[in-house]
Symmetry: C2
Subunit: 318 residues, 2 copies
């Protein structure tokens, strides 16, 4: 059966009505960087802003997808509509999201109150910065009360997730050298909630103690919020209700101090800037049929000019 051409208006209408296939189709348009995106984005605009966006991050092996699954179950038990966006920035060359560890999510596969989506962020830095916010807008417009953004927690992806979310949850587990890792990866500054998973194992309380000590020494951006450090055994769903309660507590804190609006404004500024610079890169590539940038690069390589002078000439050419 041939695929029908995309009617954006109809698709957005179905998505905002909660049609899972329309939601999936719209996110695919984002992944494919479809030329229809400006139209999609305009149609979504009146429908966004309701969802509480919660970022989940942590090193491989801490039990991130198990925890996500348990959190989804707890949210569903409260009757809330949930979106899950699993972003995989660590496979820049394959172009395909790793789905193996998403199996746990299949518990929720038939539930119309849960949208689950994996998304690869392709071969370039900034991939997450560009595409993930657009996917979040789709899930938001679809009526999700909470959207969990989960990422493979390697390197700077933690920071990127924190930039996308209202509330950032950092997962740790005993036996992973977390102390040093936490200090190195900058996660002491970004977590609004810390969860030590696998709390049935030796060392969980030790991790909490160390983390508490390190947090007390950290100069955090929002000094008025003291991030809780919760213990969970996600595969038995232990402690998960407390995690969900901490989301709500943090959202309340953000609302009461005006910080929610500030975070969303900052995030939106970044989003607009990123779209604008992405568009400019496309224009750079097109200037003089793409030859100017090549010619400038050749002159720099040959030592005839320098990168700053070349950059100025590129800008002047626009």
């Amino acid at each position: 059966m041939a695929r029908r051409p995309v009617a954006v208006g109809e698709l957005v209408e179905r998505a905002t009505g909660g049609d899972a296939r329309a939601v999936a189709r719209l996110i695919s348009l984002v992944e494919d960087a479809s030329p229809l995106l400006p139209e999609v984005s305009a149609a979504l605009a009146p429908h966004v802003g309701h969802a509480h966006i919660v970022g989940l991050t942590g090193s491989p092996g801490v039990g991130k997808s198990t925890t996500t699954g348990a959190v989804v179950a707890a949210l569903r038990a409260q009757g809330r509509k949930v979106g899950v966006l699993a972003v995989d920035p660590s496979s820049p060359f394959s172009g395909g999201a790793l789905l193996g560890d998403r199996i746990r999510m299949q518990d929720h596969a038939g539930d119309p109150g849960v949208f689950i989506r994996s998304m690869a962020t392709r071969g370039h830095l900034g991939g997450l910065a560009w595409a993930a916010p657009q996917a979040l807008r789709v899930l938001d417009a679809a009526g999700c009360d909470v959207i969990l953004v989960e990422t493979v927690g390697v390197g700077q992806s933690e920071i990127e997730v924190a930039g996308l979310a209202d509330t950032t949850v950092v997962l740790l587990a005993p036996g992973m050298g977390d102390g040093i890792q936490a200090a190195k990866a900058g996660i002491l500054e970004i977590g609004d909630v810390y969860v030590v998973n696998k709390a049935d194992r030796d060392g969980a309380r030790q991790v909490r103690r160390e983390l508490r000590g390190m947090l007390s020494l950290t100069d955090r951006p929002d000094a008025s919020w003291k991030p809780p450090i919760l213990l969970t055994v996600a595969y038995r769903e232990e402690g998960v209700d407390e995690v969900v309660a901490s989301f709500d507590a943090h959202l309340g804190h953000l609302r009461s101090g005006g910080e929610l609006a500030r975070r969303r404004l900052r995030r939106t500024r970044d989003e607009i800037e990123t779209l604008a610079t992405t568009e400019l890169r496309t224009r750079f590539a097109a200037v003089h049929g793409g030859h100017l940038l090549d010619a400038l690069a050749a002159d720099v390589v040959a030592g005839k000019t320098d990168p700053f002078a070349a950059s100025r000439r590129l800008l002047d050419s626009l």
Copy 2:
């Protein structure tokens, strides 16, 4: 004693003559994003292009700085001038490079044929993309034959390092779950040389075997180069001469096929583009005294417009 104002011409002249303090001063100008950089870059231009840039990456714990130290020793034994740039993209909030693991480098601290520099890449994604190439140009102009760029191998920093280097070396070690890590982090595509360090431990040959198997299944960008997988015990300097020989073999391969010029052109294009978009972000922030971007973001948050339309308006305002 008050610091003299910077005389760029004199500083560059001293740096190209091999003066370590002038080199350090110029790299500090890069780190500080000094307004003198365009002038510095122009003065450096005729002196760059000689160095072979070798990126070293690998997960924490594989023995990266020990290996770097041993490689420096081997290169110095051949009479070659060496630069080391240790980039730390994992401390985005602290603004300070982690120097603890640089102690090993102090073996070379008094050697005028070695320039060693740690560099933090600050609080934003793209920090490495912007600043590291400028620091490399300084080391190149200072007459280094080989520059080792070492990074904390977390997440996308591997990919960034590969983007900076002529030759990329990926370090592994037994007992770190390297198989899965390698597949996840995209390192199968980026390594020109693979080194399994700590080869005196159990499992090193197993790591090599697994890696060989995975590489044979990987669609690599340069199919004409079969990356060697070398075994080292870096703290005893075992196998390190072979590592250095592999750099030269790879450089020869790059030269003979024209790939060296292609890589450097591509890299320089990226560098120019990154400088241009960084400059544009500065201009965005300045448009209408910085109010336009704030006003657009507020409209997007309120659902009155969408990010794509806002991005178009921002670009139109330039």
